[in-house]
Symmetry: C2
Amino acid sequence: MELDSYDKKILKLLQQNNKISQRTLAENVNLSASAVNRRIASLEEHGIIKENVSIINPTKVGRPITIIVEVKIENERLDLLENDKKRFVNCPQVQQVYYVTGDFDFLLVLNVCDMEEYEQLTRELFFKADNIKGFKTIVVMQNAKQNLHVIVD
Amino acid sequence: MELDSYDKKILKLLQQNNKISQRTLAENVNLSASAVNRRIASLEEHGIIKENVSIINPTKVGRPITIIVEVKIENERLDLLENDKKRFVNCPQVQQVYYVTGDFDFLLVLNVCDMEEYEQLTRELFFKADNIKGFKTIVVMQNAKQNLHVIVD
DNA sequence: AGTGAAAGGTATTGGGG
DNA sequence: CCCCAATACCTTTCACT
């Protein structure tokens, strides 16, 4: 799907605030509300808009700790790798799973309420599994920016 | 602010899909639509709901590359540190900025369209600045999970 | 705080260019 | 693909429990 300048403006606005009304959106991009409506529907159908969500402040719901983990695996055999990946992805405390190459194989970003919760998670995620060579824990001191904005232009 | 079980259910649902109507939400949590309306307003006022956004699929808008950077700084003097942080935070390609302690000082997550864009960014972010001791680039092979969900219970 | 109903505002669909 | 207009739906407010 090709995005024209209308679609791009709509995306730019919606990824900052998706509660903005289609009428207001329409005024901003110089289109009618129904045109905006159809474009949004199309962007969603094509998966360009992946989801519409509220972002929660983790600190305010008692989960103030962000932890980064660099994971080294033992064996890169595809089925074992997929198995590790699934375990990470299915863990609700794990927000982000990146498969990388270099000194380590996975980088994880976790959100937890305290270090005890993290310690218990390490058992499930790393110690109980037999394809993990090692992992390095990095505790985040300050979460200076955290969003999923994509440049659209 | 104390969250009761109604608030928690509402938050759980909204961080999966904030386009769900308040009436549907009300049915799910066994409250009236107006009660849900007031609770959502309160959650927003208190900053528990930080923002409402559409999440864009980066690949589908021509920005398929995620890069992780570990940054070591030269001098931890507060003003220099803040200066580095601001430079990272203000860069639109930088989605996430974590200040950490250990082998490195900042971990960044970037989204770019190609390696050339990243290379140019490194000049702005790292080479032009004189408080950067070094940085390590990790190119993400596969983005297996990426969200900002927080466990609410 | 919660409810239900009324009022006001939005989203969505269909006819026509 | 656009606009406009009608309808259906949703949010918001208010009086009351």
